[in-house]
């Protein structure tokens, strides 16, 4: 037993040696261990989350179907024979046929690519534009912020669907999917901009930014090297979650008949076509709806998992 009234050698007054304190393991820092970044930490959390594993597998599968639809069906989604109209499932045609005699299974498989490309392209544009505008507003502040924030308010006040329908109606003759992507992005960028602005504002006033300025860094360098990397996680969270909602919006617009042209195979369009035979043949409407729901569900679950990993405050466990 050490005499606690006398200081140990090299001490002015008594301090207990590390191995006698109960917090020994907490106090010891293994300096040889590799530094853990926020991303490594997030990845460790993600790997253990069953939500992430399930949604990750689902999303990889959906991407695979979108890239190689030919692996899953040998039938042409656009080959429709009225002789087959509303025929039930048969060998090689597991979901049966729709009113026009098209193979429902083939159309569901080929519709994946449409939905996924609209969702991913819209998200990319929204993230690029929203982050840029939000970062400029948050970083420069003053009148720039005031003007940009009012513009965001204005776009926020227009319901997305309503605005999208008005614009799409003007460009009915254009048949490219870029039409839908750009219109969804036109009304979708504002929420990302608002979140990016908030994130930039909060990390602008943190100490590392002051420290970097004190070391002679320019404001632009600060923005790109320090502020933006620290604002990325809320943007990633909203991007993942809203990807699913863009897929729903595209399907809704195609359902209303003003989204994608009827020649493009899409779940929304197929659901719209099947609504007239709902009372007699509900299954024709059922299959594309389930495909749509699973895809959206996968992205929403992924968004939840990413949010848990990147935002420790929202961690539920």
């Amino acid at each position: 037993m050490t005499d606690i009234t006398k200081p140990l050698p090299g001490q002015e007054r008594y301090v207990a040696p590390l191995d006698e304190t109960p917090l020994q393991t907490v106090d010891t820092v293994d300096e040889s261990a590799p530094a853990s970044s926020m991303w490594a930490d997030a990845w460790r959390t993600l790997r253990k989350n069953p939500l992430f594993i399930i949604s990750g597998i689902l999303i990889l599968f959906i991407i695979f179907v979108a890239l190689f639809p030919g692996v899953f069906t040998k039938n042409d989604p656009n080959y429709c024979n009225l002789d087959n109209s509303l025929e039930p499932a048969a060998a090689g045609h597991p979901f049966g046929f729709d009113l026009q005699g098209c193979d429902v299974y083939a159309r569901v498989v080929y519709g994946t690519r449409t939905s996924l490309s609209v969702g991913i392209l819209t998200t990319l544009i929204v993230v690029a534009v929203g982050t840029l505008v939000g970062a400029i507003a948050g970083f420069f502040g003053g009148w720039v912020d005031a003007v940009l924030s009012r513009i965001v308010d204005i776009f926020m006040a227009i319901p997305m669907l309503l605005g999208a329908i008005v614009v799409l109606q003007m460009f009915r003759t254009i048949t490219s999917i870029w039409k839908v992507v750009l219109v969804l992005a036109l009304f979708g960028w504002v929420s990302t901009a608002r979140i990016a602005r908030g994130a930039v504002l909060s990390s602008k006033n943190l100490e590392f930014n002051t420290a970097s300025t004190a070391l002679g860094s320019t404001p632009t360098r600060n923005l790109f090297r320090h502020i933006l990397p620290n604002s990325v996680s809320p943007i990633i969270v909203i991007a993942t979650t809203s990807l699913g909602s863009y897929i729903v919006s595209e399907a809704t617009l195609s359902f209303l008949g003003i989204g994608l042209p009827t020649t493009t195979v899409s779940w929304g369009g197929d659901i719209s076509k099947a609504q007239s035979i709902l009372r007699t043949d509900p299954m024709v409407l059922f299959y594309p709806s389930v495909a749509l729901a699973i895809t959206v569900l996968a992205f929403i679950m992924m968004g939840d998992a990413v949010k848990d990993a990147l935002d420790p405050k929202s961690r539920t466990a």
């Binding site: 009012r150 109606q169 460009f171 399907a251 809704t252 709902l278 509900p282 569900l297």
Partner: protein
Amino acid sequence: MGKYLLRRILQMIPVVLGTTLLVYALVFALPGDPVKAMFGDKPVNEAVAAQIRAEYNLDKPFIVQYFLFLKNALSLNFGETFAGQPVISEIGRAFPVTIKLALMAFCFEAIFGCVFGVISGLKKGKWYDSVILIVSLLLISVPTFVTGFLGQYLLGVKWRILPVTAGSNPGFLDLLMPAMVLGSVSMAYIIRLARSEVSSNIAQDYVRTARAKGMTNTSVTFRHILRNSMIPVVTYLGQDLGALMGGAMITEQIFNIHGVGFLTYQSILKGEANMVVSVVTLLTLVFVVCNLLVDMLYAALDPRIRYA
């Protein structure tokens, strides 16, 4: 409070002006001729077209048109439809239906969303918590029009509990299923929001203090946990009331309800530019006013917020 209210109302002015200008520009300045749309498939008679252009001020520069529209709108004069009906009377017919539908959907999502969300948050990890969570995830991922068809098929066609479509002068029962469909997605979001709020508030220090003081479980739950958890939920609900009015378009389309959404969609398809601009302007006003009301409600719910 009075000063804050005044400042907020003044802040609303540029937003409302900007939104109407944007909508006006989208409808009138983009390619596509609204006058040509009036003739439908018939050949355009230039003399008549010119007369209509003059009547709707379409021959004037765009910004002048916009201010003339605003001036008329302030006296509730929104012009006439192609068929010669005053726009305001068409809107007057459609608005009550949509308000009824939106209020029913609002009550549905508020009551069921809060009840299930709070139960789920208080009893985290129980089997019914998992069931509520899974159902709310499913409701979010299934688009409204699919939920609508599913409801029509199951409740209307198969089990014959509720009417399949509503028609022009719908009653409570006619609107019950559309309201549930319209409110289902928001209900799921409210469940998730209320659940995470309640479960994070349970772990707060003030809850432990309240229990240590010897308060009963019921009053801790209602006076402390719920009161603090409801603030974000009320914000969401307030913003949603405005969004429900505009978002009713799909639901009204599926259930054949002749409300604002139905009217707007038909007008957009027919190219009735006047009607579209008028309805969207009114919907924007509703949305902005709802947001203002939410901010006022904040002060009542959270004594920490004081508007000086």
